[in-house]
Subunit: 428 residues, 2 copies
């Protein structure tokens, strides 16, 4: 992988640039100049640079952001189907996770990154253990990653400080690794596996104002258990602990009362919606439309491939729109709102330097061939609709931080066949 | 295109053959011998033939069957979003359809066939006007098509015989065309556009026992209108006309009473489920699980790309499973049941020679590269799950009636770029 500081690139004469800037402009027939991993200028007639991509038949978008996943769990894909979250966890996932090790996490991460980048994801937020293996995979591929490890004390006070230490160690590992594409976030595992004390410690001792992600209100059973154990619904319980603020990122939020939606809005919490996983595990339907109306920032994730079962953010966008439409109304959510969820809304959680094509932002870009069947017929008016509702996700080029990860459908940094051979050996 | 009678082909050493035979066997490392467009034998060590496909790293499946679509409407993709069926029809589709012509229908059909075959569909049932242009496109591509034109008299008695004549002319055109891959089916447009008399005429004068497809109970408004105009819900109205039998194919069936489900079951009617379209237009959720429990044969369609917006039957399978799970339970429907809906269940409507890999069946086969990212990790136990829940649909080879339509990801009979250039001229 080239060093970021060496990067100088020109995307020449792009047919369409879907900027996702404040005006949501779609620019035609312009160049994008990239210097040192950032977008330096967008204009016309720039001179050719070291590396030039002819984009006259391409559509350029900001790379999509997968706000929530557990990458290595792609190894469990195709196992443990047709069960709800609680049985799925106890009967399929926990037994499989007991067999996880560094090597499996490394190759699982690589397989998941192959799928992510080939379907236009340039940045993801991961939550898993054996995080040094994830760091290794991310280093080798050049994708952008916000990394966490899920803390859980199972209400055992003795475990709290060991858990907190895990996060400290993760942050140290990331600092020591010195790859600017990997940044830490904090993660509390779940309302049923974290004590009040652990939650308070992590949220209130968050001096760096990192995002604190937590699985919240994924199932009805979880809500009932919280009521039984703490006398409150999950978001009400967290509110009672005074831990809800703009750093708090609630993952799932499928089963919320109207009062809980108001609490999330009032405290400027962020929400991550994972429609396919919620559907497959029959968790229920996240009240996305209600939350957007209240001004809550909702972004989009695939969750793991063990419950999705793919990691294609284009499919996730389509799924989220269709699901909200069928339970609300055809105009309840628009393609534009959903496209925001996979780009600029996620940037509000993780980094204001990603999610749009604007001067000064990181050059995290994906290119789509205008001759891709699933995006035709194409013109300026139809682009966002076709991206969300019909495009299959097969991008032609992927650039992260000014470096090419996919060039004309070929992986630049990864050896797909070798990874798949190793995956076969590990999972047979 | 080669003539079917010339075809002789060997698929050598297929890693997995997902047969969809009665025992739903998945066979490993065997050959498939194809003679005159049909599967002659499945075994081991056959001698190489004229055309041999090395399949040692491939998974072979029966080609998927898209039971309901309006192919040329792919030209309207990306227009008319975020509206319910009734406004979508009046404000977007009807005005666009007034501008349709032979050329547009021809190129629309070709674009839709590009997408269908590249995502593993080898057979589809079409309903549209300008059917001679569809016939031309199907002839050129070599896909299998059951073709109909939707009859509608808008309750105007004077129009009935003109409408009936349309079907007679369609059947004559298909006979005259002499392509054995195109067969006629009958189509009544919709319960709100067909009079009792037209329905009775078509269903009761069906001497060839052709399938009679009809849009039924797609929206709540349609049900209310039927109650207002005929004093009955749609299926009850059709039952009162004595037109329901095993030839009757009800498309959509989103809004059904329990009594109507019983009527469909008792009369051995078939149902075609189109989940993505129903979701996008906010029609409601088809009670697939209830119908399967009653023994009703439910098959799967994409509907048109104007309301889906893709034509990928792998995505449609996933969508149908996830939608039933989220509104019922995680075990309400299985990957196997959904895979049946896209293969053998459709064969019960259209032809007993398609939908499975068995001796004597038409050689309509699709091949998937075992190294496709979205189907890994792969082994015999995970195959069906991965096909339904994670595979992106990108097949490597497509064979219809023993002829190759896609070979190693390249179209054998179609010029993709030329088709897209023409589409651009027609839709700008």
């Amino acid at each position: 992988m080239k060093k970021q500081s060496d990067t100088k690139m020109l995307i020449k004469n792009a047919r369409f640039i879907v900027t996702q800037n404040k005006k949501r402009e779609i620019i035609e027939n312009k160049d994008i100049k990239i210097v040192n991993g950032k977008i330096e200028s967008i204009g016309k007639g720039f001179k050719n640079d070291d590396e030039t991509i002819d984009a006259k038949n391409k559509i350029v978008l900001p790379g999509l952001i997968n706000s929530h996943t557990h990458s290595p769990m792609v190894l469990f894909r195709g196992t443990g189907d047709e069960t709800d979250l609680h049985s799925w966890l106890s009967n399929s996932i926990v037994p499989e996770e007991k067999k996880m090790n560094k090597k499996k996490v490394y190759y699982g991460s690589l397989l998941s990154i192959l799928e992510k980048i080939s379907t236009g994801t340039t940045c993801y937020c991961d939550m898993y253990s054996f995080y040094n293996s994830i760091i290794k995979a991310v280093n080798e591929t050049g994708i952008r990653c916000f990394l966490s490890t899920g803390l859980k004390d199972h209400n055992n006070e003795e475990k709290i400080y060991d858990e907190i230490k895990k996060s400290t160690l993760l942050i140290k590992s990331i600092e020591k690794n010195k790859n600017p594409l990997i940044k830490p976030v904090l993660a509390l595992h779940w309302t049923l596996t974290c004590s009040d004390k652990l939650i308070e410690n992590i949220c209130k001792d968050n001096k760096k104002n990192l995002p604190v992600c937590m699985h919240v209100s994924e199932t009805k059973k979880e809500v009932e258990e919280n009521k039984k154990l703490y006398g409150k619904r999950p978001i009400e319980r967290l509110n009672g602990l005074n831990v809800l603020n703009e750093n708090f990122v609630a993952i799932h939020c499928v089963n919320l009362s109207d009062n809980e939606i108001d609490i999330l809005a009032k405290n400027r919490c962020k929400v991550i919606h994972n429609p396919a996983s919620n559907m497959k595990l029959s968790d229920g339907i996240c009240p996305v439309v209600k939350m957007l109306k209240k001004g809550i920032c909702v972004s989009l994730g695939t969750d793991s491939a063990a419950s999705n079962d793919n990691l294609n953010m284009f499919e996730e966008m389509r799924m989220s729109a269709l699901l909200q439409k069928v339970v609300n109304s055809a105009d309840a959510i628009t393609a534009k709102e959903v496209f925001d969820m996979a780009t600029v809304n996620a940037s509000k959680i993780f980094s204001d330097k990603i999610g749009s094509i604007e001067i000064g932002k990181y050059a995290d870009l994906i290119l789509i061939n205008k001759k891709d069947i699933t995006i035709n017929p194409i013109n300026k008016k139809r682009i966002i609709s076709n991206l969300v509702y019909s495009f299959d996700g097969r991008v032609s080029d992927v650039i992260v931080n000014g470096n090419t990860l996919i060039e004309n459908y070929n992986f630049s940094t990864l050896d797909k066949d070798k990874i798949l051979d190793n995956i076969e050996k590990l999972t047979l």
